[in-house]
């Protein structure tokens, strides 16, 4: 038995996270329990002169049953001697002692030394509950430490008790009347009833009604006012991710831009410099840029969760979502996915049921993320160049199509691959509490760190490879460009010379684009996209967008000889509109533009998302299915759109 580690166990909302943060501060790491998708936090804490490891176990109501959380906790408690924690701190909510102690009773049937941390005594005292702590301790046969985790009260007492246990004092003796291991919840209930009758002077109090909670619940779960509050809360969340997050995101891009030009000034031109600036620095920037949205989202979720509101909000959409095989909690991920699929997929941790969680992960990327925005703007502009009102409608249609595809697919998965009775929601509604800012900050930090450590490295690697594919092999400057440069060298007027050189650069960029691996692949794969109406140039655009969708715009811009800007000017857009196929006809007929638009709405063109899906589901399989399903659906739908428009005479 290693006394140098303790595990935290308790019902949800008992202050486990708060106590963990108090014990370990910022020295914690979030990962998953081996082989599962359940998050695990491990930290270190000083106890006297020793440093002990603290493990945060998933919150749960009972150690029995089939839930993955119960299985994980049982696994930890029954683990081999090395990995088993030296002691278990059972955190209980003093204001809801009865229900909380059932779990403790179950825990006592295991061999681990147990410490009961009696948390939230401030709330219990406010409601007038007076408990005989020594009696409770005697009846349970374990130390009971009263505390207020949110204020740090009782922490020293807890540390002392942990220290005494780990110094290997006397072994704990279980109460003689404790129900046997495997007893029913009813038997544990009877025993706890008896214990509490003893521990509360004058007998266990009758359950009081919490008038305040009752009043707030009446508003927050009301069909009308509940929905309004929900929309306001989600609106705030959306604004944070869509508007507020752009400030740090722009800063990150600016910083890495400066870093790039700094390195560029230091190094001689050549392959190494390109690799460093466009590959590595670009790749790291492309990863770090996700951090603001991830951290802000988890910050907001932590606040919402701590107040107790999230449990109420989950019910607002449950009835509608269930019809499509999604849980009510899927609302946060699906809303977030309109900003970015990465934080959305990470936030599916809110969903307790594994099947529900998988379904949400699989369909969240259908929602139109902000990276699709520039593509929608470009393509709807091409589709209805002369009718801005129609272009606007098509733009809104893209968002609708994305959501429709998500719900349809969730329904389809529910009927096929992810079968299982969708279980309507039953949730504890915790009392309303003031959220903890430090909990929220630490959650944001932990999630950001976990993202960088696990998905981050993969995403940097993907970015470098994609950059390499579009930059290599290097082709020599085309004759035309060489001639233009020679003409520029001989020109007397500097303005004319600059103009000639700029034109030479454009021609060279286009040659490099089509000579690169990506360009070669575009030409090779083009027959696949022929039925969708794409020529090789558009195919290159589609392929390069697999790095990130917004790359499409700059790729098309380079192909028509503009710069590689994310926001092409009117001249470049005009050139994209009039760009021609090898046979001289227009690339962007109305049918092609519509088909490309549909493809971009539905296709899985985001490798970072796949990296996160793999990480959150724990299996490569799900990332592969996601890629194949979404891109397959995109292909078929785009095909239908193109061919039926052609058949209808629209081209």
């Amino acid at each position: 038995m290693s006394a140098s580690s303790v595990a935290l166990l308790g019902n949800p909302n008992t202050g486990k996270t708060t106590l963990f943060n108090r014990l370990c501060g910022a020295r914690a790491k979030t990962s998953n329990f081996p082989g599962t998708t359940t998050a695990m936090r491990v930290g270190r804490s000083h106890v006297g002169a020793e440093i002990i490891e603290v493990i945060d176990l998933p919150g749960l109501y009972s150690l029995q049953g089939e839930s993955p959380e119960a299985a994980i906790v049982r696994g930890v408690l029954r683990g081999d001697a090395e990995s088993r924690p030296g002691a278990v701190i059972a955190l209980v909510d003093a204001s809801n002692l009865f229900r909380n102690l059932i779990l403790v009773a179950e825990l006592l049937t295991f061999d681990e030394p147990v410490i009961v941390a009696l948390n939230m005594v401030d709330i219990a005292e406010r409601t007038g509950l007076r408990l005989g702590v020594p009696t409770l301790s005697r009846r349970l046969g374990v130390p009971v430490v009263p505390m207020v985790a949110s204020k740090g009260i009782g922490l020293d007492g807890l540390r002392t008790v942990i220290g005494a246990l780990s110094s290997g004092a006397t072994a704990q003796v279980r109460p003689a009347d404790l129900p046997a291991p495997g007893a029913s919840l009813e038997q544990f209930t009877t025993w706890i009833d008896d214990v509490l009758n003893d521990a509360y002077p004058g007998g266990a109090p009758a359950a009081a009604l919490d008038a305040r909670t009752e009043r707030i619940d009446r508003v927050l779960t009301h069909p009308l006012s509940g929905t309004l509050v929900f929309m306001a809360a989600m609106g705030a969340l959306f604004w944070t991710l869509f508007e507020l997050a752009t400030v740090p995101m722009d800063l990150i891009e600016l910083t890495f831009g400066y870093l790039g030009s700094g390195v560029s000034a230091l190094l001689p031109a050549g392959a190494i410099r390109d690799l460093l600036i466009d590959g590595v620095i670009g790749g790291i920037a492309g990863t770090v840029v996700f951090l603001p949205q991830i951290c802000l989202l988890f910050f907001m979720i932590s606040l919402l969760e701590d107040t107790g509101y999230l449990a109420r909000a989950a019910f607002v959409n449950d009835r509608i979502f269930r019809r499509f095989g999604l849980p009510g909690q899927a609302f946060v991920p699906l809303l977030t996915a309109h900003a970015c699929a990465l934080p959305a997929i990470m936030s599916t941790r809110l969903i307790p049921d594994r099947r529900d969680r998988l379904a949400t992960i699989m369909v969240a990327p259908f929602m139109s993320c902000s990276a699709r925005l520039p593509v929608y703007i470009l393509l709807t502009g091409l589709l209805f160049a002369d009718r801005p009102a129609l272009a606007g409608l098509a733009f809104a249609g893209c968002y609708l199509l994305g959501s429709a595809a998500a719900f349809f697919s969730a329904w389809l998965f529910g009927k096929t691959a992810l079968k299982g009775t969708p279980r309507p929601m039953v949730l504890e509604l915790p009392t309303y509490k003031r959220p903890s800012l430090s909990n929220a900050l630490l959650t944001a930090k932990d999630q950001g760190q976990a993202f960088l450590q696990t998905a981050g490295t993969v995403i940097v690697a993907i970015c470098v490879v994609m950059w390499w594919l579009s930059a290599y092999p290097k082709v020599g400057a085309p004759v035309e460009a060489v001639e233009l440069r020679q003409a520029a060298d001989m020109s007397a007027a500097p303005a004319v010379a600059d103009d000639l050189r700029a034109r030479a650069d454009v021609i060279q960029a286009k040659a490099e684009q089509s000579g690169s691996f990506a360009g070669i692949m575009g030409r090779t794969i083009q027959p696949v996209f022929q039925p969708l109406g794409y020529d090789w140039q558009l195919t290159v655009g589609v392929l390069t967008s697999f790095l990130a969708r917004e790359v499409f715009v700059s790729t098309m811009s380079v192909i028509v000889g503009g710069g590689a800007e994310a926001e092409p000017d009117e001249g470049v857009r005009q050139r994209i509109r009039t760009m021609t196929r090898d046979d001289g006809t227009l690339v962007f007929t109305r049918a092609t533009a519509a088909s490309a638009l549909v493809f971009f709405v539905l296709a899985m063109q985001c490798l970072p998302t796949l990296a996160v899906t793999r990480k959150e589901t724990g299996k490569v399989k799900y990332a592969v299915v996601q890629l194949a399903y979404m891109s397959g659906l995109a292909y078929v739908t785009a095909l239908v759109v193109y061919q039926s428009m052609r058949a209808a005479g629209i081209s």
């Binding site: 049953g65 229900r99 919840l185 209930t189 359950a207 009752e214 619940d217 309507p424 915790p430 009392t431």
Partner: protein, 84 residues
């Protein structure tokens, strides 16, 4: 029509504010276990705080939100006023 006091009725048909004894939950074993671990054990006393979506019941100090689709399958025996 008056109900005999011992007739189990669906949780959905219980009056708001009424106290009742849990009779049975006609649900899959996993859902039943979930309800029991939240405190809705055999023959426990509960109070209906709110009907609708979700329906809210209180068992001792625990408030539980239950989707209507589940509440319909939970059967309770109303207790006379004044019982707890």
């Amino acid at each position: 029509m008056t109900l005999a006091p011992a007739t189990p009725i669906s949780l959905c048909d219980l009056a708001v504010g009424a106290v009742a004894r849990l009779h049975e939950a006609r649900l899959d074993p996993e859902s039943c276990h979930q309800l029991r671990s939240l405190g809705l054990t055999e023959s426990c006393h509960l109070r209906l705080c709110k009907t609708g979506e979700p329906c809210i019941v209180q068992v001792r100090s625990t408030r539980i939100g239950i989707a209507g689709a589940v509440a319909r399958h939970i059967f309770v025996v109303p207790l006379p006023v004044g019982a707890s």
